[in-house]
C-alpha cells in the first residue's frame, strides 16, 4: 500500500452523499436544498420532465460540476479530496452522448475504460483485454471486438459505452439515460445487469440512473428523486415518491396507478 492510496474511501461511509444540495443554472433554480445518501447495494433513479435538470444533477453527483449550494461526497469524502484517477476508480459515468469521430475498433474503445487503472506509462495488458472482453460479452457484444464503432447501430454503440463503463469497474455507477437507443430486450437486460452488479454481496456497488420510463423506475429503484422542473424536489424511498398525484404534477399529465401482479404500474390517462 503506498501513501497515495491511504484513506480512500472512508470505511463504512455511504457510497454517495449529497448534503443540502441546491443547483442553479443561469437564473433558474433546478432543485431546492435536499439531501440524499446511497449505500452499497442500492439503486437511485432520477425522474423528471425534459429540462428539469436530471443530467445537471447527475453531473454534480459525478463531481463534474460544482453544486451551487451544498456538498457532494463519495466514499465519505468530498470530490476535492479525491485525486482524479482515484475518483475514476470509485465512480464512473455513462454520458448521454457517445462521440465516435474517428474510426476505432470496439475493443480499443472499450479498453479506454482501463485508463484510471493504468500508470502514466502503462499499456493495456492481457488482463485488461480479458476484462474488456468480459464486459463486451455481458452486454451481448461478444465477437464485435474488431468491428469499427462507426459502423455500429445506435443501440450497439450504447452497449459499447456500457461495456466501457463496466471495463472501468467503478463501485458507483452514474448512468445518464442508459436505455437510449436500446430495444425492449436490451433495456431490461441492461437494467438487470446493473441490478445484479449492485446487489452482488460484498462488492460494495451502487447505482444512480436517469430514466424516462416511470414503470422501469418502479421496477428497479430503491430510492427516487423526482424533479418537477420548477425547482421542487421529491426525494425518498420508491413507494413514497412514486405516487400518482406527485408524478402527474411533475410531468404535467394525469397518471393512473394500477396494481398488477404485485407491482405498481403507471398509465397516462
Amino acid at each position: 500500500m503506498n501513501a497515495a492510496r491511504r484513506v480512500l474511501p472512508v470505511d463504512d461511509a455511504p457510497l454517495l452523499e449529497a448534503e443540502r444540495l441546491a443547483l442553479k443554472v443561469g437564473e433558474r433554480w433546478l432543485c431546492c436544498e435536499f439531501s440524499l445518501s446511497l449505500a452499497a447495494g442500492e439503486c437511485l433513479v432520477l425522474l423528471g420532465p425534459n429540462g428539469a435538470g436530471k443530467t445537471t444533477l447527475l453531473h454534480t453527483l459525478a463531481g463534474l460540476r460544482e453544486p451551487t449550494v451544498g456538498e457532494v461526497r463519495i466514499g465519505g469524502l468530498p470530490y476535492a479530496a479525491w485525486p482524479a484517477l482515484e475518483a475514476a476508480r470509485f465512480r464512473g459515468l455513462l454520458a448521454q452522448q457517445q462521440p465516435d469521430l474517428f474510426a476505432a475498433s470496439v475493443l480499443e474503445t472499450v479498453l479506454v475504460g482501463r485508463h484510471p487503472h493504468l500508470g502514466r506509462w502503462g499499456w493495456e495488458g492481457p488482463q485488461d483485454v480479458a476484462i474488456a472482453r468480459a464486459a463486451l460479452e455481458s452486454v451481448g457484444l461478444a465477437g464485435f471486438e474488431q468491428r469499427d464503432v462507426q459502423t455500429l447501430s445506435g443501440g450497439e454503440r450504447q452497449r459499447v459505452a456500457i461495456a466501457t463503463l463496466l471495463t472501468q469497474a467503478p463501485r458507483l455507477f452514474l448512468l445518464d439515460e442508459p436505455l437510449n437507443h436500446l430495444d425492449l430486450h436490451h433495456q431490461i437486460a441492461a437494467l438487470d445487469l446493473f441490478q445484479r452488479l449492485v446487489r452482488e454481496d460484498g462488492a460494495g456497488r451502487g447505482s444512480v440512473l436517469v430514466l424516462h420510463d416511470i414503470n422501469l423506475a418502479a421496477r428497479y429503484a430503491d430510492h427516487i428523486i423526482l424533479l418537477d422542473g420548477r425547482g421542487g424536489v421529491m426525494a425518498g424511498d420508491r413507494d413514497a415518491v412514486l405516487r400518482a398525484d406527485l408524478l402527474s404534477q411533475a410531468f404535467g399529465h394525469p397518471l393512473r396507478r394500477i396494481e398488477h401482479a404485485g407491482r405498481a404500474v403507471f398509465l397516462p390517462d
Binding site: L85, A104, H115, W123, E124, L174
Partner: protein, 328 residues
C-alpha cells in the same frame, strides 16, 4: 488500445523509411556523389562532395525532415484537440499570423534572419489572439475555438493578399515561395529538430489521455483526465510546433492534415502509436518531397508545398478507397 501491428515493427519500418529518404536527399542533386562522400561528410572529411553534402544537402534535408515531423505531429494534436478530422496545423490561424509577419518583413526588405523572427512572432501573436478571444469568458468549446481560429486565419489571409498586391514586383516571387513552403533557404535545422524531439518527449506520457479525450470531454473527465489543463497544453504545444515549422520552411500545406490520416488508416487511432509514427512519416514525406522539388526540374526549384500535395493526394485517395475501416 491495441494496435494491429506491434509497435517495434512499426518503428523499424518507419525508421528505415526515414533513413532511406534522408540518404536519397544526400546523394541526389546536380553534383554526383557516392557512398564514400556521404560517409566522409558525416565524419567531417574533406572534398567537394563531402562539403556539398555537409554544407548544403544535409542541413536542408534535416530541415525538411524536422518540419514534416513538426507539422504532422501538430496536425495529429489539433485533430484530437478540436475533435475534428478536418483539423490541420493551420486551421487556428497560426500559419496566417506567421505569413503576415514574414511577408511584412519581406515587403520592408528585411534580412532573412528578421523574416524568420517576424514569422515566429506573427505565429505567436496569432496563437495568443485566438486563445485570448476563444477563452475570453472562461469557457472553452471546440466550436468557439475553431470559429475564432478560422476568422483570425481569414483576417490574416486578407492582410497577406493586401501585402502581395502592394509589394514591389521583385519581391513578390520570394513571397509566393514562402507562402507555398520552400526549404531552400533553411540552413539551421537543429533548433527545429530539438523542438520536435522535446515535443514528443513531452507528449508521450500523456498520449493515453489523448485517447480518452477522443471519447468526449465528459467521459474523459469522469475517467480522471484533467481535460482543462490537457487542452490548453495541447493548444500551446501544437501552436508552437506549427510556428517552428512555418518559420523554418514557410506554410507547407497538406503534410499536417494528411499524414495523421494516413497513419490512422494504416495503424489505427491509438495516439501512443499515432503521434510518433506521424512525426516519422511526416518527416519522411517532406524530405522526399523536398528532394524531388529540387531535382525533378533542376536547375529550376519547385516550392516543396506543391510537391507534398502532388505526392500526398493520390496516396491518400488510394488508401481511402481501399480502407476496410471506411472513414479516416
Amino acid at each position: 488500445m491495441r494496435c494491429r501491428r506491434s509497435p517495434p515493427a512499426i518503428a523499424a519500418v518507419l525508421l528505415s523509411a526515414a533513413a532511406v529518404a534522408l540518404l536519397w536527399a544526400l546523394v541526389a542533386g546536380d553534383l554526383p556523389v557516392g557512398a564514400t562522400d556521404v560517409v566522409a561528410a558525416l565524419v567531417g572529411g574533406d572534398g567537394m562532395g563531402a562539403t556539398v553534402i555537409r554544407e548544403l544537402r544535409l542541413p536542408r534535408a534535416l530541415a525538411a525532415f524536422a518540419c514534416g515531423g513538426l507539422l504532422a505531429t501538430a496536425g495529429a494534436l489539433m485533430q484530437v484537440l478540436l475533435r475534428n478530422p478536418l483539423a490541420d496545423p493551420y486551421i487556428l490561424g497560426i500559419s496566417g499570423g506567421a505569413a503576415v509577419g514574414a511577408l511584412g518583413a519581406m515587403v520592408l526588405g528585411a534580412a532573412m534572419f528578421w523574416v524568420d523572427v517576424s514569422a515566429f512572432a506573427g505565429a505567436l501573436a496569432a496563437m495568443l489572439l485566438v486563445f485570448g478571444l476563444a477563452h475570453g469568458d472562461g469557457s472553452w468549446t471546440q466550436t468557439r475555438l475553431l470559429l475564432t481560429g478560422v476568422i483570425v486565419a481569414a483576417g490574416c489571409g486578407a492582410a497577406v493578399s493586401l501585402m502581395l498586391a502592394l509589394a514591389p514586383d521583385t519581391r513578390v516571387m520570394s513571397m509566393l515561395f514562402w507562402m507555398m513552403g520552400d526549404a531552400s533557404a533553411a540552413s539551421r535545422p537543429w533548433p527545429a529538430l530539438a523542438v520536435l524531439a522535446l515535443a514528443l518527449v513531452a507528449v508521450m506520457p500523456f498520449a493515453r489521455d489523448l485517447n480518452v479525450l477522443a471519447r468526449g470531454e465528459l467521459t474523459a473527465r469522469a475517467l480522471g483526465v484533467r481535460v482543462g489543463h490537457l487542452r490548453v497544453a495541447l493548444y500551446v504545444l501544437a501552436s508552437l510546433l506549427t510556428a517552428t515549422a512555418v518559420t523554418l520552411v514557410g506554410s507547407v500545406g497538406f503534410v499536417g492534415l494528411v499524414v495523421p490520416h494516413l497513419v490512422r488508416l494504416a495503424l489505427g487511432n491509438d495516439q501512443r502509436v499515432l503521434i510518433p509514427a506521424a512525426a516519422l512519416a511526416g518527416g519522411t514525406l517532406l524530405t522526399l518531397a523536398d528532394t524531388a522539388a529540387r531535382t525533378v526540374m533542376a536547375p529550376q526549384q519547385l516550392p516543396v508545398g506543391v510537391l507534398t500535395a502532388l505526392i500526398g493526394v493520390p496516396v491518400f485517395l488510394f488508401l481511402l478507397s481501399r480502407s476496410p475501416r471506411g472513414t479516416p
